[in-house]
Each structure stands twice: as structure tokens, then as C-alpha cells.
């Protein structure tokens, strides 16, 4: 049986980072399903979905955690998602102060409520007028039907004072 894992990755940006993750995955027969990664504020950060034989989860998790020696901090969550449970598709837009680890914070918060990220696009843009670096994210989420949009907003806005979160049903990301 396969298990889906959500990995959050953060570390100093340098050549070969992605390679070190992919080789660990490959050596455990894990499949790199989908990912979004970026250089954020001089740090490399990303989230990725991998599937692996359930019997290999422990060894893989250990191997990934060991990458800390190479300057990569990786957390591994199981994306079980309650097979068969009805899910809603939502689009999320978010803006907040940029800081290393923001993707990890967000993805962990979502994972903690069994929200799966189908697609995540992030960008850091200089804010109009004030010029500060703001983190913008657009995501497509699959959310357990039991979770409503207010709860998701509350969950994310709980991460920081300034986070503005906007959530809508449906696939459309722009009007």
C-alpha cells in the first residue's frame, strides 16, 4: 500500500538542494508527485507531495530528517486525507510579510487540518508605496467537507497578525 507524504523543505539556497532531496526519495523507491519551490528571502523553501510504500515511510522520514546535516530542514506529514471522505475544492489567496519558512508554516497549518494542497504558487513582491517585501500565495486546496472556509481562514490568520486570507469555492483564481 502507498502512503502520500507532504514534505516541507527549508534551507540555505545553494546548488544541488533539489538533487539531494530527490536522491533520498529515489533511494527509498518514493515517487516525487508534485511540488512548488522557490528561493524566498535568500532561503530555499518548498512543499512537495511524494508517495512511498507504507513500509518505507519510517526509513524515508529518517533519511530526509538527516538532510539537516546538509543545511536542509525537512518536515514530513502524512497526507492521509480520509479515503472516501467528500472534499471541497477551494481557491485561496494570501498575502503576508515575507519571511523564511512562511510556506512551511502555511503548509503545516493546512496539513494539520487534513487540507491537501493541489497547487501552490507563491511570489514575493515589493509592496506598492511602502516597498516592503510581501509574500503572495495562490493555492488550490482540497478540503474535508466538514471544514468551512471561516475555519481555514482562522487557522491561517492565526499564524500572524498581518496575514490576509481570502478563500473562495470553485476553481477560479482570478475574476
Amino acid at each position: 500500500m502507498k502512503t502520500s507524504l507532504v514534505l516541507t523543505v527549508i534551507g540555505e539556497d545553494r546548488p544541488g538542494l533539489v538533487g539531494s532531496i530527490s536522491s533520498v526519495l529515489a533511494s527509498h523507491d518514493a515517487n516525487w508527485e508534485e511540488s512548488r519551490m522557490a528561493n524566498l528571502g535568500g532561503r530555499f523553501a518548498g512543499i512537495l507531495l511524494a508517495s512511498v510504500d507504507s513500509s518505507n515511510v519510517g526509513a524515508l522520514t529518517e533519511a530526509l530528517t538527516d538532510l539537516r546535516d546538509k543545511g536542509l530542514s525537512i518536515t514530513v506529514e502524512t497526507a492521509e486525507g480520509g479515503v472516501g471522505e467528500p472534499r471541497n475544492e477551494l481557491t485561496l489567496e494570501l498575502v503576508g510579510q515575507d519571511h523564511p519558512g512562511i510556506v512551511r508554516d502555511i503548509s503545516q497549518a493546512l496539513a494539520s487540518r487534513d487540507v491537501s494542497v493541489e497547487e501552490l504558487t507563491t511570489e514575493v513582491r515589493s509592496a506598492t508605496m511602502s516597498g516592503e517585501n510581501l509574500f503572495h500565495a495562490t493555492a488550490r486546496l482540497r478540503v474535508p467537507a466538514s471544514l468551512n472556509t471561516d475555519e481555514i481562514r482562522g487557522l491561517l490568520e492565526g499564524l500572524a497578525n498581518e496575514l490576509m486570507v481570502d478563500i473562495e469555492f470553485g476553481e477560479q483564481t482570478h475574476p
Partner: protein, 960 residues
Amino acid sequence: MSDTRRSLRDLEQTNDFVRRHIGPSESEIQVMLGEIGIESLDALADKVVPRGIRNSGPLALDDSTTEAAALAELRGMADQNVINKSWIGLGYYGCHVPTVILRNVLENPGWYTAYTPYQPEISQGRLEAILNFQTMFCDLTGLELANASMLDEGTAAAEAMTLCQRQSRNKSNVFFVSQDCFPQTIDVVRTRAEPIGIRVVVGDHRSDLVGLDCFGALLQYPAAGGEVHDYRSLVDAVHEKDGMVVVAADILSLTLLASPGELGADVAVGSTQRFGVPMMFGGPHAAFFATRDAYKRSVPGRLVGVSVDSRGDTAYRLALQTREQHIRREKATSNICTAQALLAIMASMYAVYHGPDGLKTIAQRVHRLTATLVEGLRRGGIVVLNETFFDTVVVNSGDTTAEIHERANGRRMNLCRIDSARVGISLDETATRSDVEDLWSIFGVQQDFVEIEAAAEDAIPAALRRTSAFLTHAVFNSHHSETEMLRYLRALMDKDLALDRAMIPLGSCTMKLNATSELIPVTWPEFADIHPFAPREQTLGYRQMMEQLEAMLCACTGYDAVSLQPNAGSQGEYAGLLAINAYHESRGDAERNVCLIPSSAHGTNPASANMVGMKVVVVNCDADGNVDVADLRTKAAKHADTLAAIMITYPSTHGVFESAIEEICAIVHDHGGQVYLDGANLNAQVGLAAPGKYGSDVSHLNLHKTFCIPHGGGGPGVGPIGVRKHLAPFMPGHRLLDEEDSPRKGGPVCSAPFGSAGILPITWAYIRLMGRQGILDATRVAILNANYLARKLGAHYPVLYTGPNGMVAHECIIDLRDIKDATGITVDDVAKRLIDYGFHAPTMSFPVAGTLMIEPTESESKQELDRFVEAMVHIREEIRAVECGDVDPSNNPLKHAPHTAADLADGEWNHPYSRAQAVFPVDKLRACKYWVPVGRVDNVYGDRNLVCSCPAIDDYRDVA
């Protein structure tokens, strides 16, 4: 001495002001034209502005005149205003502006010519003053969070309504408004509610509120008639139904009354005018907005917060900027940008000056005199209807009402005209014992003042007396001598960079000269001390001035009519779109609700469209930043049955005169829509082209940009709208103007009938001084200055977006994105480094992220432009050093900018560049240097550790 006899006309110097307003001299203009390879200003205008939209003749304005003559004309009009003591109340009260504040804040360009404090390092002075303002209103209202000010009480109440709608767990569409609220507040709330589907129920809160299913309720405290109600049980009743409560409160009374927070209110709003800001015939004044911490993301307007700088020292900044940058702008429920910084600063300084005990003393005096007035009236057989009061009472005047108003006028007093049987009296800080005696005699009562005063009892209910402390912070308790106050004001002002020190080249903000002669009349008592609801015959001078101003603005824009009411640019947008809605409805086209907005638009546009219930459809722009006409045509056709309007900025937000503007207007008209042309960039076209003539139906005019009203460090702004004839009947009206010859049908968009009337003389004076030719010359030189900068800077940085002739309009955008990719140096780094050179940064990342937009205006001299170019070229060299690898990408003068005196004094200097290079990158700075008070402010820290009131006293202990 010349042999030729000069004409007297020449010697009279009626053109003198024009050359003082316009920076470059005639010979410098020739040099600059040479630099850009154009022979004359005429040829420049021909090249930049599309031929089809050019004005065919001169503006219908007078010739220029001298400052003395213009002031004399204004004086003549001012003298037609009558200064009565206005005991009218309704949110506007006489007050004594502490003269140390009048002279050193309101009349001081160091405060009034500053810009909105987006660049915190050069804005610490006014940020501290505004933080004081926020602290004051947290204290007075008993709520956790207060914002940096609102436009006025009416709009603050309307914003509170929409906050409740967003936050309330009660999902009904009903908002209850007590009939005891100020009538103009009720009207503004109604205007705001209607297009967004909120049903406003106005009623008696004592009988109509309990059990009502509503998402929110607005109550006035004390009520318009002066009664001081205990709202606690009502608040509980609304909360039980999951609704929220807004209390509109009088700030002076709050020094004696239990706070709205203690009554359980969720939001408190109110005017701060009576804290040392003149009435000014209605504005500008700041309003406050306070609420609970839980609603911080929904608070409209700006918030000042505390953070730290690069040295770890306390520094202030605008907090939670993400609220302004929120992605889905068309879902915004508020479009407020500019607030009333200057007036908020004045009100906060009034509190700093008087302190908590001083304020309480003033409030107690006003209350004692009111109680004495009431006691005397009652003993004289007059029926005063109030059971409780603070400073306002209602008298049952019955048949004698008209006579009483007449007698009051005879004593040069105004009373509140409630109806034919009742008059209202509101005393204020200026009231004296002899005023009370005069008021008695108006009602035919003769009393011994001393005896009555001794018998007069407090009329504030015991359960509502204030017991909680307020203004306990040191700042409100240490500047009570005038010497200390003077130095505090000076110390704060000295921290800031305003137009009195250097060019502020902010693109799309038009930071031009705010000439002293234009500003002088603002504080003349004949303009400053007039109540907005004073009888018409007392305000003839104002009306004449405004009538002339409307005609001047029509001449400048080609429109047929102007409404001066909107008291900010955003309010103008809102008023203009409301007029479009009403026009469509009047023609049975109520289903027209689609608003086309180009993707390059300012964020306020979609927010305004949303506020009037329009559905935003975005029109694409092409690679040059121009509207994609094919896309426009497709979308206009697709929505032909429902097209309400297009909102377009011209010249575009990219600073280019799009040649297709006429075609764009025609496409929208052909599909039944109206054209809203955003007047933000009017400074590029006054005298050259008139929106009302080339296809637009309505525009707002930012008087604080094109027409010289100063920015006030973040307000006041003034945003009148100009419209073509068919929209004129739908401009904002006001209940006090219903008796006018041709009343306007639109609901009021702000509290006062003429908005910020008190600062309109500035624009009148500007246009009168410049005259027909001067206004045109200003526009042409604004375009010249921008093209000169584009040419000079273009040799060092890529310039984005030019018109078909390779020219820009009145501003230019330089692109730093490639530099960032190559070196890691960002717009922010360049902006902060400019501070070391003594400049305010240009506009950052608007309309394109990673760019700087520069608008020099016509008022900057060639010398100042060259100084700016020199700074930018030096900075380019500093960047090149990073590029070449000569300098560490993270340890260089750009990344560590701005450099403070404290940085220099550090024993260790861990930078590969010298201290001199840090602070004197060009030699001229040794003679005249702006020392930035803090290092780069940490935005992330400030938002993570959100504090929006003065830091605790403990932080000051080390100093004490």
C-alpha cells in the same frame, strides 16, 4: 539702468507668482528643452499630447495676478462671512486652537507639506504624533485598537457599518440606526448602505431595537439632543442576537463619561474636531475609529504601529500594510486611502498640550456652564426637555421659536434649528459666563449668575460617570509648559522630510509647491470659525468663493458642473460612480452594473466600484501598459446590456498619454456605458486637454495633487467631482441644501455639505494667481521636468513606458528589476539609500512591482532636479560596485541604508565602505544634511509583534 521705459503693466508684476510657482527659469527651460532635443514648450506639448484631444483655445480663466491682489480678493469674500457664536452642535463645536499648535503645526510647512508616511525612516515625527492620536482614542473609548483617523464622523459611521457586516455573526441585512444620531450621519450611512444591499432601519433605540434581528446598531453618545443614555442593556440585547454595536461618541464628553468599551460597544467612532481644530465650515477634520483587536484585519484606513529599526531601537511605521495590498481589491468594502493626518496630529497635540487633567477641566467647565444655563432657564419658566446632558440640551420653544432665533442672531449667536417648536443649544470650550447670561436673555430670562451657578447640579447619570483613567502615558503628561510644547513639536518635525527640505518626487502624487499665500487664508477666522450648518446669510463669502472655484474647475476640466463635497479622492470616485448609477436608473437602466477597469488601474478604482454595487470586469493592458483596445471592445460588447461604466486613468497610471483615449471613450458610450476618468494625473493636462471635452463624463479632481492643497502628511485630501451636464442632477446633495434653487438628488457622501470647505481657498488662490497662461505653463513645465529626468536618468537606468514619440507625460518609471536579478539590490534599498542623499524616495512598485515612479512636478527647479539626478547616478555606481563584485552583496551602502548618526558613533565599523561614504556620498551634503533619526525599520517585526499605541512607560524608564 536700461534706457527703454518699461510698461507699467510689466512693472506691476502680475506674472510674478507664476515664475515663483514654476521651478525652472526661462533660460533653464531652454537648456532643458535642448537636453531633450525639443525646440519649445509648445513643440513639447504637441509631441506628448495626442492632437485629437488638445484644447482648441485658451482656458476661460482670468489673467494671472499678484499675491497681494489675490489675497485682497479673498479678504473681500471672507468679510462677507459672519462669525457668530455657533451653539448649533451636531458634531461641530467652537474651540480654542492652542496658538502654539496653530502656528507650529497647522501653519507650518514642516508638517503640512509632508507626504503619507509610507517611508517610515523619514516620517518618525508624524508617525509618533499619530501614534499618540491612536493611543488617545484607545484610552478614551476603552477599546483596544484605534486607527490613524477617518475622513469625518459620518463616513466613519458608514465604515463601522460595513465592518459590522463583515464581522458580525448575525447574517441579516439590517443595520439599525438610532434616530438620535446626528442627522447628517444617518444620511451618509444611508447613502453608503443602499447600493450594497444593506437595509437601514432608523428608529427609537428605546422601543425599536430590542428583539430586532440586525447585524449591527449605531447609537449616539451623548445623543444628538444631548441626552446621556445608558446603553448597556441595549448592547447586551444586540449581542444576544449576535449583532454588533457601534457607538458614535463625543470626545470631550468621554473625559467625564464611562467609555463606549465599558458600555460593551464593539466599535466607537466620532469627530475629533473639538480638540483644537477650527470648524472651517465643515472640514477638514479627523474622525477616530476604534474597535477590538479581533477586528484588526477589517479596520478601515491606516494604522501606525511600533517596530524596531536595524539597530534594535524603537521605530514607528504603518502597520499591517497587507490590508492595503490585499489581492482581491474588487472585494474591498472600503476605498479610504488618504485620511486626515494633519488634523489628527492637531487633535493629538491638543491632548498632549492639555493633558488628561486639562481636558477634564475643560469638559467640567463646559458641563458646569451648561448646567447653569439649564438651571437658569428652568427657574425662568423655560422648559428644557433633557433629563440628562453633557453640553447639549433641547428647549421647548413652542410659538416663540422664530423669535428666539431672531434674538439669538441679534446677539450674534446661532442656535440649533431642530424644528418649529424646539431649539437646541450646545455649549463648547469657548463658552463663558457672559454667554450663559446672553442665552438666558434670548429666552427672556434674567438671573443672578453666581446664585444659579452655585445651585446648578451635574446632569451626568451617576452610573455613567467615568472612573477609568485615560491618557496616562508620559507623552500626555510632560509637555504642559509652552516651552516644552514648542520644543516637542519642533523635535518631531525635525525628524521628518517634507517639501520644506527637499523634492518629494512621488509618482502619481504631484507633490508641488503649496504656496504660502495660498495657505494664509485658511486660518483667517472668517473662514476658520464658521459652523457648517450656519444660516446661509452668514456664509455668503464662502458661497461666492466656492461658486467661483467651481467655475474655475469647470474651465480647467471642460466639465459643466462641479461638486465640492467629496473630501478625499476616494470619496470623489465613490460620488462619481453613485452619480453614474443614479443616471442609469433614471433612464430605466437599473440593470447596468458592470464596471470595466484596466488591469493597470489604481487599487482604489475597483474598491470604489465595489462600494456602489458594481461588478468589476478587468480589461487587459498591452505590453506598453496601454489599454488593450481589442480586449475592451470584446468585453464592452459582451456586457453591452449591463455595461455601467469604465474607470480609466489618463494619462495612464504608467504615465503615458494613450493615443486611443477617444476611441476608448467612444466604445464605452456605444455600448451604453459612462466614462469615469480618474483625475489623479490631471497635472499633465490642465490647459492642454480637457477630459469633459474629449469623451469623459465624470472625473474626480485631486485638489491635493494638481491644485496645490498640501498633503498634510497623509491628509487632508479633497476630491471634488466634475461632470457633464447629464450627470449634474445626480451629484451629492445634503439635507441642508434642500432649499437651494436646484437641489442635487444624490445622497451625501460625507457629513458636511461642502466637504472640506475650509481649505478650498487654497485652490481658489492657486488658479487665481496663475491665471490662464500660468496654469498652462505649469502643465507644460511639469511635462518638461519629467522628460528631462527621463532623459538624464535614462542613460543610467531603463525607463519603462513612453508614448509613441519616445516621450513620457508628467512622470517616468525607472525599472530596477534587472538590477535586482543581477545584484540583489531592490527598490527598497535604492529608496532607503536616497534618504542618505537627503531625498524622499519616488513611488515604489506602482504601477509595476520593482520599479520607481518619479514625478518632479513643475515646481522643482533645474538645480533640484540635477541634485536628484546626481544622487541617482551615484547610487547606480554603488550598484555597479556590487555588480562587479567589488563590494559584498549584503554589506554595502545600499543594503545598510539609511545611515544614522548613531551608526557613525559606533566604536566598531564593520563595513567595507567608509563612514564618509555612508553619510556624505556627495560633498554637498557636508554643508546641508538631513540626519535620519532611525535606521531601516523592520516591517516583519512590527507586524509579528503588533503594538498600535504608545510603547509602555517602562520603555522610557531608562531615559527618565
